[in-house]
Symmetry: D2
Subunit: 137 residues, 4 copies
């Protein structure tokens, strides 16, 4: 399998997913870090970050880790995601998502993701997700 570098992933996302609104901070050995700048549209009354926003960040971090490990695979799709909401995120800090792959199989890749409000060590959410990898033609 050919890995993809951080720059290759950024270029791919810019070309194929122009609506991808997450910043690729780092990719590593079966891992990735993604940053997201909270906007007004992401907030809920009381000044917390919405669940779908956090879900989207977790999903993006897992996708970047999949690309980094398997190379550029446009058609990988999420099949399952389990997310626990742990603490109220800051309304003013970026969200940082740290993904580690825990299984890289031929057809399924599984990773876990911790999400943090930048500057805090206590995660605001934790997710475990599965990507299905399309068979090679």
């Amino acid at each position: 399998m050919a890995n993809a570098s951080k720059q290759e992933i950024i270029d791919f996302l810019a070309g194929e997913f122009p609506q991808f609104k997450y910043i690729v901070e780092a990719v590593g050995e079966q891992s990735a870090t993604v940053r997201y700048e909270i906007t007004h549209a992401d907030l809920r009354p009381g000044g917390t970050v919405s669940g779908p926003t956090l879900f989207g960040i977790a999903d993006a971090a897992l996708y970047v880790a999949v690309l980094a490990e398997l190379g550029i695979i446009a058609l990988a799709v999420t099949t399952n995601m389990n997310i626990n909401f742990l603490r109220k995120p800051s309304a003013t800090q970026d969200i940082i998502a740290q993904c580690n792959l825990i299984k890289v199989g031929r057809t399924l890749v599984i990773g876990d993701v911790f999400l943090y409000s930048e500057g805090s060590d206590a995660p605001v959410a934790h997710a475990v997700g599965t990507y299905a990898i399309p068979p090679k033609r």
Copy 2:
């Protein structure tokens, strides 16, 4: 416990969650149906609906079912959601989410949600989620 009617829920959401973008179609005995009109921003390359969009609809349907069962509780929060993506949704049909509560406890309410592209019987996603209910003052 005081239930809330469909109209009470609509009024509450309009007043307190003006950004709530889901249509309350029906509420019933420990159940709710919610509709969402897909916008361009919800689509992914290939003409599918994004995972975070589907997650948000599932979460909204569960929240409406919680309100219908327990009455107007602004502070109920999602603590866990497990979602399986089953089939490619239509890019042109509304998404319909049907939620049934499977446990109504004092502190936790659990429900499952089937999501459909309108007009199809085969679900595009299925979610199970937990809401935490704040203690009464």
Copy 3:
């Protein structure tokens, strides 16, 4: 795809999984019902049924539904299971598990399972699980 009948499944399990301790009650259209007789070893202090016992019943019901839908596939394996424990099961009633498949794909089959203490309409647990189907040789 060739379906398997209730009797074919019972014969297969007796031959290949002699330790399979669940009773196949019924198989239907993408569905299965399984019964389990609680033993002393399944109980926890306070007279409740253990979590691993309930997990095993849910897993068995899903496996029987997979066999009924896809035919006899010895090598299907569980890849994911999400289980919510809802109510205290009876220590003296059989557990009945009702599984419905919600996706039958080429490589993944997903089903949900409601578990009941016999004679009660309120589920004691709910599970959603995924089986991976080995590719055809």
Copy 4:
């Protein structure tokens, strides 16, 4: 909150849960390690460890971590567990489960668990679970 030591947990389990068949290896800062010796009854055809056995080990590790963090709480109960089966476990090695708590709330404690066949660095399963803590009297 009063923590419990490894010896206090072992004594409590021996007195109150005599059927608890897991070995408490270590407890630490919001963490616990549990060992389980595979028996013939835990094996499936093909020489793999059954899903319910792995589920039970994950649940036990989470319970020990809860006791270590919150002190001896007999009545804590699992409300949710999401488990991914990653690799075929060894039929001849003990299973080692490493749990870390990711949220310790007043009413809910959430932890993740990695399970290994002893001597291997690649996890055979990964679980995330929630324990509900009964309110103080």
